[in-house]
Symmetry: C2
Subunit: 269 residues, 2 copies
């Protein structure tokens, strides 16, 4: 028995999904029924073996289980496409990691009011902001939804000394209408002239699972953008961490001359 039984079952169901015998949204046979389908001759497979196979498909992101209902082939959601700005002018205005067009596309965006905290900088943030030891930083956290669905979370860190130098609005739990970049320029004469993004993907934390309503079983990666912005003298101004669940987000980047994108099909594969 080179291949274990549960893997054989999983691979067969995998195949049936891929060839379209089981369409997205379709219900799989119940565990009891699968016991019979995959039995050796007259003997039925054990329910636990069938369940092991299904667990494997869950981690592959192919199916999801719903207690009391059944097991279903996952439906892909319509991803929201964010265009990554490569122009410091364009990107700075929006005060976010990406230049989005939520409204333009007939989707309704929703942003929570910032949750503002003062906390000691963790080593990563301290490093990015050029702080030594455990200085305090201001953390501004926001959660974003599109059409009611949790879409991204963002936390921006500013050095505490900005407040001491007069930028007290940093502590306000309100969006700053004029944008943070402009505010810092007016208040402290600090100009944001560039930034560096670091992009990684990883498994979600507990918090992220909760906010994005990712069941503990469904396998969805988190895409993390970390942006450090700099002023004219090369001094870091702020550090922004934005996280996106990969199942409902996509990113686009253009370089050089590119024709406008035609209306695109968003069907599931």
């Amino acid at each position: 028995m080179a291949e274990p039984m549960y893997r054989i079952i999983a691979d067969d169901l995998d195949r049936r999904i891929k060839i379209g015998e089981l369409q997205p949204g379709a219900q799989l046979p119940s565990e009891i029924e699968l016991r019979e389908e995959y039995g050796q001759g007259t003997a039925k497979a054990s329910r636990n073996t069938v369940r092991d196979a299904i667990k494997l498909l869950v981690t592959r992101g192919l199916v999801e289980t719903r207690p009391g209902q059944g097991t279903f082939v996952v439906k892909k959601v319509l991803p929201f496409v964010s265009r990554l700005a490569t122009d410091p002018e364009a990107g700075g205005i929006e005060d976010g990691v990406y230049k989005d067009e939520v409204g333009k596309r007939g989707r309704t965006p929703d942003e929570t009011r910032p949750r503002v905290e003062v906390q000691p900088a963790d080593p990563t943030v301290a490093g990015e902001l050029g702080l030594t030891g455990d200085e305090q930083v201001i953390s501004r956290h926001q959660e974003r939804r599109i059409d009611g669905t949790p879409w991204s979370m963002q936390t921006t860190f500013y050095p505490m000394k900005f407040v001491e130098r007069g930028a007290t609005n940093l502590l306000m739990a309100e969006n700053i209408a004029e944008g943070m970049v402009k505010y810092l320029e007016e208040k402290l004469n600090i100009k944001q002239v560039g930034w560096r993004d670091t992009i990684t993907a990883r498994t979600p934390t507990g918090n992220e699972r909760t906010f994005f309503t990712l069941s503990d079983k469904v396998q969805v990666a988190i895409i993390e953008f970390r942006r450090t912005s700099y002023d004219e003298t090369g001094v870091p101004i702020r550090h922004t961490v934005t996280v996106y669940p990969a199942d409902r987000n996509q990113f686009e980047m253009e370089a050089g001359a590119v024709p406008a994108r035609p209306e695109k099909n968003h069907e599931a594969k």
Copy 2:
């Protein structure tokens, strides 16, 4: 018992890993030992329950199991950082999705010779290349390693008509020394002036698991770059798909004026 036992065990081990009681690389207690650690009073937990807890930690990417040896806290590998080019001149030269500096950083890159095939375009590729129906495309596939570790896979698709018009080297299973962009310009007078990238993250396919040596259990996301390049008239020239395992790759992007990056700490969290 709101929370099931296996989740309580998993969360506790999760916590012990996060606070550093269990360091990366450290061995967890064996399943037999964990049975006693997490028993209710005198009763031991079932071995299956302990195993369920460990399976959960595996899917969270926190631990890995080795038959005959034990269960270990995963060690993060040193990620390779790719700088995403935003300048069509710079990016085009290297003929890849990213402008890398493998050699400069004392790491030894390794690229397989292209595997060249002629095949009918799948709907996505056809759409990106502006082909109708099931025209043929040339597919050139390469695998990359760094210091012997599988790092990325890349497939580039070209319209078949490029060959008919004289660019026969597209069918050669060799790297084209001068670079494909230059070759197409000389041979067909096609100039690549821009591109559009689409970035997504998803679970690995079976092929990807094999090449990247990702065990069926370890949860690592795949980062996928799809790039369509265009000529001066806005006609798509080629479509490139590059996939990276997220555990050993990271991406950087700069905009505006940014100071040079100082030597960075790459310790595991």
